[in-house]
Amino acid sequence: MRKAQGIILLDRTKAGFIFAYQGGNGVAMVKDRHGDWSPVAHLSATEASLGFQIGGEQNFFVILLMTTNATQKLTDSIIDFGGEARGTAGDQSSGVEGQANPADAVLIYSDRKGLYGGATIKGGAISPDDDANQIYYGSYVTMSDILFDQKVKPTATATELAKKISDYSKQ
């Protein structure tokens, strides 16, 4: 956590019967060269699908971006970490950070299964939520404007989140 260059918090819900709704939303933040966290950029992870599906599930993911190359992918129109995402699927042991390989660019944690397999976040499933960002900051801003170019100021809510992340980073 201390070494993370960026972080994504993502809520995903899957529910449906025949017509399934698989969606979610989240936020991303990156660390600047002084170690301060950027304002939040909103993300969406929404897709609808058709097929015989019944039931539902909800997962919360924390995705740590350990390199600046990984954080740069947040400016892509479709955020795909592909083979860079690593984890130990289904590892429920405590001290999950100890399980991570220091060479991994992207680490994924779930509220259900600790450090999670990269395959859980499918490529193309996450994208910038431009509409939400426009509403949140009152004008059209790109992911780069928010995360790297300091064109917006962090809101009070985002500052609170950044403080939490910083506190955990020190532990």
């Binding site: 025949i18 929404t46 609808a48 015989f52 919360f60 509220d111 509403i135 989140l161």
Partner: protein, 63 residues
Amino acid sequence: MLLVDSGKGYCTVCTLTGKGTIMKKIAILFALGLAGALSLCASETQADLDSRIRTLTAKFDAL
């Protein structure tokens, strides 16, 4: 998928939509799909987005 027998003498679509004409079944399925599509288009306010961040913060804190 549509031809799978539900065990009640109806296909799965008929089990879901009940008896009726093919147009009624299509209408029911369309309504279900439309409801899902509309849920993707719901607009949010700045307060909604702040609330979303607070929810994510709480979940992060609890992880």
